[in-house]
Symmetry: C2
Subunit: 534 residues, 2 copies
């Protein structure tokens, strides 16, 4: 026994059985430790969680979908009712602004996401029911009947939290239990969310071990659970190094992993757009790059700007904004160290520092934003090094001699989450160039964006928060957006000449809830006529 905070295992809050150490959160604005001691879990906690989740998986897969949807809705409501406490905890642990960020943007996004998942469950949209009456075959997506392990990131204490975010909502919507590994940068926030989730689980009558949470465990144990064949799938959001280590372990065991790892989110400013509204774009770029201290997966990390007077004016305007900017508070000492290492690596690879904000003598993890620059030839000669993601308020401007070089840059890029084109809004002067750049860019990114910075990620069926490797581990899936994100945590099940009483509800002839189903090639909400099936 120990005096550390309890972990949520097997349906109860209990002491860690074999804590290897303990840790506290830090106030990023002061660098001081805050809050209680949280256990760093050992192998016994993980084994207990896996055993409990494996049992719960069977019961959860057999639950009525209405009960799952009820849980998701009730949890969303509980988060809203507890908003003040949650926002205060998250603010203390992350230094993200209470408003608008935490209270007005991220928390509503999180509850909206849980409710969209509930809606996908109620309408069975994620199962994609498919019926072939001629062949006597029916198929749909179904629970994995194994637990999903979710590794949460540092940068969204609510919307990507391992016990409340998109991976969590997706895995539960697909009727799989979640073992959440919270991020150690915001343990008290995660604890509070897990407390609410656990109460909602009990209220909804789901198996008590449907939601479990550990605050942290070390890399070796992380690789161990990722490579355990009892695990149905892994959701991970974080660094490339961390994601690749888990991916190697999961791959070896045949466990599907959906890792969202890194992206520089290239933005191409076309000449017409620059001429038309260069000063406005500099402001928009600076605001996006420093929002949330730049700690976004979709931060605009590479800006491709044409040479010439308008490009020079843009760079000068952006440089002034960066130079005048105060230091931002980053999440942790680790993030700040990585940020500085990243800047140094870009400089080593040939980038120049164009602008550097005001340093601060105050305590805490403060960091002045930085703007770097290279010309296109340098970028093309050292693309791998210059594509390194620098997580925080920094961006690299690449000056291109013309459209041909912009296309060459697009072709040289690795997989990214997003790619953005800014074009003239007044006339069609940029159209041909935009088409050419888009063609080169399209296969290298998940989301193509027009005239907007990449940092906003809407929760929508048509969103793709994903992209080709190494941005993520699989270009066919999105980490955000219902019902699409749910299908990551599902297995395809076919029924061949199976008697009606053994069919799941969404595949029976009668369709009283009006699910949208693909019947003989046509999407319809109709019943299948009795006797229509061979």
């Amino acid at each position: 026994m120990n005096a550390f905070e309890s972990v949520l295992i097997g349906g109860t809050w209990r002491a860690s059985q074999d804590a290897r150490a303990s840790f506290r959160a830090f106030d990023p604005t002061s660098g001081e430790e805050i809050g209680p001691q949280f256990p760093l879990s050992g192998a016994a906690d993980i084994e207990a969680a896996l055993a409990a989740a494996s049992e719960a998986a069977i019961a959860l897969a057999a639950c009525a979908p209405e009960r799952i949807a009820g849980f998701l809705d009730a949890y969303a409501a509980a988060i809203e009712a507890d908003a003040e406490t949650l926002v205060n905890l998250a603010h203390a642990e992350t230094a993200l602004p209470r408003e608008p960020r935490l209270a007005k943007v991220e928390l509503p996004r999180t509850t909206n996401q849980l409710r969209q998942a509930a809606q996908a469950v109620r309408t069975s949209s994620w199962t994609q029911p498919t019926i072939d009456t001629h062949a006597g075959l029916r198929s749909h997506f179904a629970p994995l009947t194994k637990p999903v392990v979710v590794f949460g990131p540092n940068n969204f204490p609510f919307a990507f939290n391992a016990v409340a975010g998109s991976d969590f909502a997706s895995a539960i919507a697909a009727q799989n239990p979640v073992i959440a590994k919270a991020h150690p940068a915001h343990p008290a926030t995660s604890r509070r969310l897990a407390y609410l989730a656990h109460l909602a689980v009990l209220d909804a009558g789901l198996p008590a071990a449907s939601v479990q949470m550990l605050y942290d465990f070390d890399y070796t144990l992380g690789a161990g659970i990722a490579g355990d064949a009892r695990v149905g799938a892994i959701g991970f959001t974080g660094s490339r190094a961390g994601g690749l280590a888990l991916k190697a372990a999961a791959d070896a065991a045949g466990v599907p992993i959906y890792a969202e790892m890194s992206s520089v989110n290239p933005v191409f400013l076309l000449p017409g757009a620059l001429a038309e509204r260069g000063a406005e774009l500099a402001q928009e770029f600076f605001a996006s790059c420093t929002l949330g201290s730049g700690q976004f997966c979709t931060n605009p990390g590479v800006m491709v700007v044409p040479q010439g007077a308008h490009g020079d004016a843009f760079v000068a305007a952006a440089s002034r904004l960066f130079t005048d900017a105060p230091a931002s508070v980053l999440f942790s000492q680790h993030v700040r160290n990585q940020f500085r290492r990243g800047l140094a690596a870009l400089v080593d690879a040939g980038a120049q520092v164009l602008a550097h904000g005001r340093d601060s003598a105050e305590a805490g993890y403060r960091q002045a934003p930085a703007l770097l620059g290279v010309d296109a030839r340098q970028f093309l000669a050292a693309t791998q090094a210059l594509m390194t993601e620098v997580f925080g308020p920094a961006s690299l401007i690449v000056r291109a001699s013309g459209i041909a070089e912009m296309v060459a840059i697009a072709r040289a890029l690795d997989g990214n989450l997003t790619g953005t084109l800014y074009t003239s809004k007044q006339d069609r002067i940029d159209d041909d160039a935009a088409t050419e750049i888009a063609r080169a860019l399209r296969p290298r990114i998940g989301r193509l964006i027009g005239n907007k910075m990449p940092t906003g990620v809407a929760v929508s069926a048509a969103m793709n928060h994903g992209g080709p490797y190494p941005a993520t581990s699989h270009s066919g899936f999105t980490a955000v957006g219902m019902p699409t994100a749910i299908r990551r945590f599902a297995a395809l099940h076919s029924y061949d000449q199976v008697p009606p009483r053994l069919l799941p509800e969404d595949l029976r002839d009668a369709n009283p809830r009006g699910f949208q189903r693909l019947v003989d090639g046509v999407w319809t909400t109709a019943n299948v006529a009795a006797g229509e099936t061979s």
Copy 2:
């Protein structure tokens, strides 16, 4: 230069640049070499194919879908027109019967599959167009814009051929070039198919390197191409050892691999079904197990049969059929060696030989079918060893003391392609037991089958020819069935506030072809009203 048959690289038939050796096909009925010398390709051939395919991928992704569909239809027609030659070649190389198997079953299935892929292209069903007018977001599945490498198996010279089968049709439908690695057991058949495919490519005006084919290369080179980041995805059908070696290489490079590897396809005979029609079931089982000399991924490899008089009668009847059966001709010396090793391994693990067909003194790769047996307790004590797939005309009968043991067997199973339940057709005596077994079986299989042997695989949107690891490498995908199989070779693309002229056809407001699209959560063929989108 050498005197070996030409390989199809870069849009022309040309001599292998660095053949490491040559090989000929064998007539399985005699064990004699037949036909010309085919090259075992070296690294230079592979590099040339990859370079050509990488270029072709960009052009192919930009092709009008109608041209892709036209190719698939024309290739199907060319196969039909050439049926006599193809059937003769395949018969000579595989010893599979000309009729019905090759001419009446497999060849029509292959052309039907190509045409279903063409239809999926014309209707854009595989792209799953999704539009969110409120958020200004649109998404669909799109080409990888990289080549797909297809490794074909020995057992379907047409329907799974690397240059004509489901992986091929799926990859081309998704507008990706294919580099086919034919199976060395039927090189002349593959050569003929590639010849027809190549002509159809040129006729359709697709990039000439859209279809390339090598007859064979060694494991090291196979792992090399699977782990090459220029490859968009891999399709593999074959042994578990081969699949896992490619998967390890592909995983390390972030290349998605869809490997269909092994399955014992458990069949559960319930007491009512046995009492009602045991003799008929014995005949059905024997026929399925020896069809095509048992060389099917979906062969019934494990039969779970209750103890008692009806079960005894079933086993006795099946044993008589196996004992009386003549030797079957297998595809190759390798298949026969593996078959014998597999039988020996089952016996080592505790199985008894219940029946063994008539051996043959004739030449060729002949093998008597074999029926083995264990009791459930043995099976549960040595499940891993007794679940080993024996590729060929063999099956293992597991005698269970009752429903509880049948459920325990289901729970002990690894991932499989199929699982089958035979139940009474006259009354509901088996219903409760079937429900209980199905619940245990369902998460461990891709396709649940009622009262039918697993060997038939229909090409249908509701088919799942897939299953949990290690049956395949990902339980969310099927290797057979349009449009579902096509999505394996696709990337998810989202468009965020992108001007209409940069949108692909299936995501524009106007929907003149009446594609089925998910617009604001509803499947519809309607246009999106102008100005409806933010």
